[in-house]
């Protein structure tokens, strides 16, 4: 039945009255997502896209039973929005916002952790569970329900891969963009654990990139705990060290975070690695 976003999820959109927030709320509704309200401080009591608008997340929880949130809040207020959701009792917090100062994210990370909530992002495309809904900005038309669980640090590259999978007849259980920042709420490892316990998911695709050690950790975890096969891909093989490749997290520092190290880690863990994204569907089929 997929992970994170399920049939019981009642989504509130933080910042859903802004230009981008409105557009994305519309696409989430069109995809069939159960969006129960919008939170924009100072606009409580209004209606927007036929949804009730609340001043605070706490009100949305109280009034319409929201238990999941997706945030389109500009970076300066994004951490506060995450913490507000966690304090209000939201269980799944998806933060789309990019360019968040990493120290803001760090504090929000611990705040969410202490509340026992789950944070996806920031700087991510969100979560899509085909047939259920999407909390984020992924284009809904490329998805199809199926057995592939997908985790990725990037956005558009993920859509490419989903598109390839769907065209190859390989539907998805849930697709999770964990975000491209150096610190994100949920790591590859965290999401791997959820897919591991999900009945619908039969194979996991993991899209990594240069920077940090999340891929190495994931490879170790797979070797030790995975009950299902996984397929991996690393982008940024031609990225030079010391340069931030768009994502704040995609930077090779000294000799840490190189594509080589990640490739080696997956090889050591026995996880098949695609050289190009076009190879992924075949590897998935072989693993099923």
């Amino acid at each position: 039945m997929g992970i994170l976003l399920g049939p019981d999820s009642r989504l509130v959109v933080q910042g859903g009255t802004g230009r981008e927030g409105s557009f994305q709320t519309q696409t989430m509704l069109e995809y069939g997502t159960r969006v129960v309200g919008i939170v924009t401080p100072g606009r409580g009591g209004q209606q927007h896209l036929e949804l009730p608008v609340f001043d605070t997340v706490a009100e949305a929880v109280r009034e319409v039973g929201a238990n999941a949130s997706v945030g389109f809040i500009p970076a300066p207020g994004a951490a506060d929005g995450i913490m507000e959701a966690a304090a209000a009792g939201i269980e799944l917090i998806v933060c789309i916002s990019d360019r968040m100062p990493v120290l803001d994210t760090l504090r929000a990370y611990y705040f969410v952790k202490n509340k026992g909530a789950r944070l996806i992002g920031p700087n991510c495309p969100g979560v899509t569970t085909p047939g259920v809904g999407k909390a984020g900005i992924m284009p809904g038309n490329i998805f199809q329900k199926g057995p592939v669980g997908l985790i990725s640090r990037s956005g558009t590259l993920t859509y490419e891969v989903v598109n390839l999978l769907t065209k190859a007849g390989l539907g998805q259980s849930t697709c999770v963009g964990i975000g491209g920042d150096p610190i994100v709420g949920s790591s590859f490892r965290d999401i791997l654990g959820l897919f591991n316990d999900d009945d619908q998911t039969e194979v996991i695709v993991l899209l990594g990139e240069v920077g940090g050690a999340a891929e190495e950790e994931a490879a170790e975890w797979i070797a030790a705990h995975a009950k299902k096969p996984a397929v991996s891909f690393i982008s940024g093989r031609t990225a030079p060290p010391g340069k931030r490749m768009g994502h704040a997290g995609a930077i090779i520092s000294g000799n840490r975070g190189t594509a080589e190290a990640k490739v080696a880690a997956f090889q050591a863990a026995g996880v098949p690695l695609a050289d190009t994204i076009e190879q992924i569907p075949a590897l998935v089929k072989a693993a099923l």
């Binding site: 990019d98 611990y110 558009t156 899209l207 031609t238 994204i277």
Partner: protein, 379 residues
């Protein structure tokens, strides 16, 4: 954003840390004048790379003539691909001991780690590898910061000389404060010099700031002007674009960092040399795409551009409009290959068709086409 050593020391000094008396020079004449005032001094090239000492870019001058000569040799010289534009002249210190003091964002451990060692003056990663017990780490609570006793415990655990432990503790507290105050990702003092008279002095300084937080640090603008950064990257940053100059001839634009990196990888896999990384990001609009194209084409090495778009939050029609408008405005004759899929891809393609742009159906197809066009073989 990285600060030069002399800039880091300005920040340190402003926060009450002791730094050597020093002056910046951009010409040998300035260096001589500075040395007249400073006496025996150290001449240090200001570049953002390590290993300056071994490479002969940190040298002691006994008199102004020597200082001038050292500056003449360093200024304009290259070190690991960076050019020296400024030298820092500092009064020589009476060094008794060299410690290490630093704070760094540990992205995988999700902490800010304060580090202290009495084995300063050498690469701290080497100390960590060879004498791990000599590198004391503290990961203070992220809201509370380090408490005095925690810093004190760290100082005594590191074996800091009791005669200077208070100053070292104060220095560590200041490093933490500056880390948060300036949204740093790295603050490093190596060596933290203990002089024979018991002064504790920041004899070097590294300071890296989170680019995402620069919006709340207008006070750092002044530091940027003195930067040695790539002029194309500076221009792109001014335009708020995620651009990295790579030096090849295939200009690259994609929406999304992962897709842009993968586009680079695919171009390279097909034998091309990426000129740049450029992510026009999620919500890119026509004006952004046009602006991005302008920056790519400012690079004289660029002989063709591959635009790779998969529409999520970005709408295909807007991207297409931006590309067409950008090409028109620039009147460029450089070949441009565009591959577009995702949200509103049909509308986007319709707009592209009206202009003279080469369509591609996949990244591999686009890479092949742009390389062929650059090599004069047509698409």
């Amino acid at each position: 954003m990285r600060l030069f050593e002399y800039q880091a020391k300005q920040v340190f000094g402003g926060a009450g840390l002791s730094v050597p008396k020093g002056m910046v020079a951009t010409t040998p004449e300035q260096a001589m004048a500075a040395a007249e005032q400073l006496g025996r001094c150290v001449v240090k090239a200001q570049v953002h790379v390590g290993g300056r000492g071994k490479a002969g870019f940190i040298k002691v001058a006994s008199n102004p003539a020597e200082a001038g000569e050292l500056a003449r040799r360093m200024l304009g010289a290259g070190l690991k691909g960076y050019t020296v534009h400024q030298v820092l002249l500092e009064q020589a210190l009476d060094i008794a001991k060299e410690y290490y003091l630093g704070a760094v964002l540990d992205r995988d451990g999700k902490h800010i780690v304060l580090m202290l060692s009495t084995m300063g003056g050498m690469d701290i990663e080497e100390v960590a590898a060879t004498h791990p017990e000599k590198l004391i780490r503290l990961t203070p609570d992220i809201w509370r910061g380090p408490l005095s006793f925690e810093l004190q415990d760290m100082a005594f655990a590191a074996g800091v000389d009791r005669a200077v432990y208070r100053k070292v503790v104060q220095g560590a507290a200041t490093v933490w404060k500056l880390f948060w105050q300036y949204d740093a990702s790295l603050v490093e003092i190596n060596p933290l010099v203990i002089t024979s008279s018991g002064d504790v002095i920041a004899a070097d300084g590294k300071f890296e700031i989170d680019d995402n937080a620069l919006y709340r640090h207008p006070e750092l603008e002044a530091f940027r002007q003195a930067s040695e950064e790539d002029p194309l990257e500076v221009e792109a940053q001014r335009r708020n674009l995620n651009y990295v100059h790579l030096g090849g001839d295939v200009g690259i634009m994609a929406n999304g960092a992962g897709l842009a990196m993968n586009t680079m990888d695919v171009v390279a896999a097909h034998g091309g040399k990426p000129a740049n990384f450029l992510d026009v990001s999620g919500g890119a609009k026509a004006d952004v795409v046009q602006s991005a194209l302008e920056v790519i084409l400012q690079d004289p090495s660029v002989r063709g551009v591959f635009i790779n778009i998969f529409g999520g939050i970005t709408r295909g029609d807007e991207v297409a409009r931006g590309v067409v408008e950008g090409v028109r405005a620039l009147g460029t004759t450089v070949p441009i290959v565009v591959r577009m899929a995702g949200t509103r891809e049909e509308e986007g393609r319709a707009i592209l068709r009206e202009a003279d742009l080469v369509p591609a159906m996949s990244a591999a197809d686009g890479a092949e086409k742009i390389i062929a066009l650059i090599n004069g073989r047509g698409a």
